[in-house]
Symmetry: D2
Subunit: 333 residues, 4 copies
């Protein structure tokens, strides 16, 4: 399967490695608005840097992987659809829910896989939790709790174009809740700027708790902070009628020091690339399986719309100080 | 210090043991509306069963410990105040916030200690968390999360007179939040009946998440369930600017089994009497210290009012589907 | 059951508390070669200090608890036997194996319980491990490993009269091995003075590894050190055909701190009195059950002889640099 | 750096992957006595299968990686030396200590790196333990304990040609002890056949404890079993004057299940290829650094001799039932 990569930044490089590592896919072209970035990455893989138009026109290319900036995602998905390509696109579809819904309609008629990159679903720990839940190991799920703290806040310049905490950061956790519990009925958000006053000055928050209410009474809670002194804190816990499932943090190593200071373990792995390295590889293999074996697309455009709708509802809830109901118009349904 | 115990039920027996174990206090009388219960417990301690009136009139008795049913607490506190006794009363003051406020006014003018029994503050694990937080080990606290699941729901007959989940069960967690973070500005409740339909039929919930918003942006989250298959789940976690503090469950023992089935540790201690045995002893010693050494009363009638006000706000929030603000009239302030 | 305590030192006080706490036993007298110590402890319990002779002659006293210095144990056990008392004696019987064997013969004909105080067998964690092993949870045991480190070395003055590391400290671990695996065939000792040179100057070691070989091929390993910077390290691990059982340390509390420095748990409880507080209570209840209910004596004089024989063999092995076989004459045959 | 791989079996394939993954080395040829195996692996890497002679004669090949059967190692190392190649050889040098000493003399005069494959030194957990020990985090090391259990015993056909447990399996643990504590003065072995009677019938043991005594009093203990029902158990623990360092097992994932059955974590990763995957990569990078950057060879032929000498001493100790002293003739010193 011949793949072109659009976007040669940090996350593009991660995907390039996954494409190369998978025996069933080959990276054949790289494009980036920064020509130098495209050329450097292409050279590293012994291939050519090309333009997006050129890639789309090349009928020898089976699939495009969109890892460019968020504001280009929707247009590129639609262009890829027109060009008949299989498409893998990093989250989110767009910062605008309306625009995402347009893309969803376009994708509905496409006969090739269109997959959104929600990497956390593919994390072996979270996937094991999902499998145990579906196997009924704790009976019916009742309370879901997602903890997701970044090690350190991004630069304010990034915050300004990020779409805000709910669309940029918590969108992953909304997707995890949808993955495990499905779509909720209500969203109630509480948030504040406690980490970096500059984030508040830019009109955003850096600390938030969101509660999702489900039609059958189940409840999900998401906790976000842009900063955890000990690293990247990524945990999920589900209480069910038969017990609790918890996916704990991955630690840097297994060394334990017992001294006068206490019993000291290693910290969680610090950065998302280390934490989700395996998830990115497995995610890519799932896309290849959808393209090559006809396996179902595990994270669809609808999943992308759903996560964005929850972020939109959280923004409204925070602004209005009340719970917001998820209505069909929000999810295109 | 001579102490009379009013209430010879399950919790009364726990306190009788603490009174006996403390070298500075002596149990001298027991009263109960069930004469047989009073006599049995009194006999066990080699003392006399007496009436409440008799106890209150006895100037040789320094303190009364009220462990009778909730609907008698307010009257007994007031009677104890009139009789000039030091008073230790199990939570809550009353199911009615108004009635609790009346008691608060009466207690304000009393020159002897009046202490409310919020046992969890005295748990060595939670107290160690509080000490670490106040010592600045994780900088300023930002997100507080309290997990509190009972092993199994109480009988519906009890649920009906309990005052409901927020006043009966989560009141402990409200107090822990006040203990660690102070009084919040807003309360938002989400709840459902997922464990036992009979609880729902009785008009109560058995599963709830409450989010407390603080004036300075801090957020506390409480999770409650009436049932956890693996036992009594009692955890607290605080994220601060410098890291996280977590008080984990106490396990039945330290045995770890590694077999084909996995690596298996013991379950959390199953029942609140085992879990908080040490807390009850330390709590009582704190009351004795307040009576004998003039130490400050660690859990005051105002603390009892505050917890009840948060429960009241949670009930309103659940009924109205919106956040409720804690106004001064709620806490008597 | 009326009990007299002989020995009012540190361990005597622990036992006095256990006697008092047990509803079926009453402390009625205390004796000590230091009259003041006996009087102080007796006063604390509202009873009389008496002489040993007086106690032994008092037919109203059912049992004696011997917690005096090691060199008095053998004589007191024999005197207690002659006086027809039930006897609980702290380990060891004597530093001399020959003397212990004489006591064993005397005890054999006694019609009242004679129990040796090997407290660790009654620790709930170790007892849970034993129960799991006997229930076949890991099949047949193969490799037993006992880790036993004191928090800090005793004063050299104590070391000089202690009988040496094997008879004073590792004797507990020898007993645990006998408890879990029975008596071995061979003993091989390796030891050194690494903690305190003064211990070496006194002719003793402070660090040792002993390997016990069993007739059926099972192997037990004991590690001892007189010093662990993080507290009292007391662990047992058994590999069996179906897995591993491990009794881990009890920690001071369940607080976990995650900061830039790592993920930090509390240290093991520091002192043997805290670590084995429950064990002492349960041990005493077992003695009471032997006296009152005819329950079997769980730790017999033969157990005391066996542990001493292993210590003796370890001393020989260390001196001669070779494994020593446990012959029938060592354990009284 | 152009590398030829000799040996296309299980471990050869692991190394082929490492060679390919390292940006500074290229796999250019594969040889194996089984022509089909060589051809299959070569085809997978798009290169040619060649004979050993052909490889050695090719001056374009910088290095050979010897992953063939143990009985060919010594000859191939010597041939590689004669051909002027850099050499990486899987452990052991040979089953015969005398033969290994001959190889050591040949390697001493070679001007290219000759490195032995002791993969465990490169495991990130064990390397972190080593670094912490050398940084003085627990002061001076005193007691070292290595636990090393295989998930399941190998076929008896393999056992028969393996050289026995000490030379085949515990050799890794001997190397780890030498890595962390240096060479001991004495070796005392205890062993038995408890897992599979067929191993005993083949003249070998499957369960062993070895104690290493150091000249300065330090003691190391190694526990080996050919079978652990829960997977591959690989742990190291060091007690030092300032505390304990412990490298614990790596688990399959971080999922924790709390149910009526207990609190259940995942098992250790089951197989050595998963457990030491990272170690093999880092090990190869260290060889490349020795070849390309002149970095010191981290695991030398002398290290191979030392581990073999300890295995030899353990065999003698087991046979003679006494400790064996490591004399200079054993290590070629």
């Amino acid at each position: 399967m011949k793949v072109a990569l659009i976007g040669a930044g940090r996350i593009g490089k991660v995907h390039a490695t996954s494409i190369k590592a998978d025996p069933r896919s080959t990276l054949v072209a790289v494009a980036d608005v920064m020509a130098e970035a495209a050329e450097a990455l292409a050279a590293e893989h012994g291939i050519a840097a090309r333009t997006v138009d050129d890639i789309l026109a090349d009928t020898g290319i089976d699939a495009i992987l969109i890892a460019s900036s968020t504001n280009t995602h929707a247009d590129l998905i639609e262009a890829g659809i027109r060009a008949g390509k299989a498409i893998f696109c990093e989250k989110p579809i767009d910062l605008s829910l309306d625009r995402a819904l347009t893309v969803r309609r376009a994708a509905a008629g496409h006969d090739r896989p269109v997959m959104m990159g929600f990497n956390r679903r593919f994390d072996p720990n979270f996937a094991a939790l999902k499998a145990a839940l579906e196997a009924g190991e704790i009976g019916k799920g009742e309370l879901l709790s997602v903890t997701s703290y970044d090690p350190a806040p991004p630069p304010v310049s990034y915050v300004k174009v990020s779409g805000g905490l709910f669309r940029d950061m918590m969108i992953h956790d909304f997707d995890i809740c949808a993955f495990l519990f499905g779509m909720p009925r209500t969203v109630m958000a509480q948030g504040a700027c406690l980490v970096d006053p500059a984030i508040g000055a830019a009109g955003d928050i850096d600390t938030a708790v969101v509660v999702l209410g489900y039609a059958d009474g189940r409840i999900a809670t998401i906790r976000n902070s842009r900063r955890a002194a000990y690293g990247y804190d990524q945990r999920i816990e589900v209480l069910g009628s038969g017990g609790t499932l918890a996916a704990e943090n991955m630690l840097e190593n297994t060394l334990v020091r017992a001294t006068e200071a206490g019993v000291i373990s290693a910290k969680p792995v610090h950065f998302f690339l280390e934490r989700y390295m395996r998830a990115y590889e497995i995610e890519w293999a799932a896309f290849v399986a959808a393209c090559r074996d006809g396996a179902p697309v595990p994270t669809t455009v609808q999943d992308g719309v759903n996560a964005l709708a929850l972020a939109e509802a959280a923004n409204r809830s925070l602004a209005e100080g009340r719970p917001v109901t998820i209505t069909p118009d929000l999810t295109g349904g």
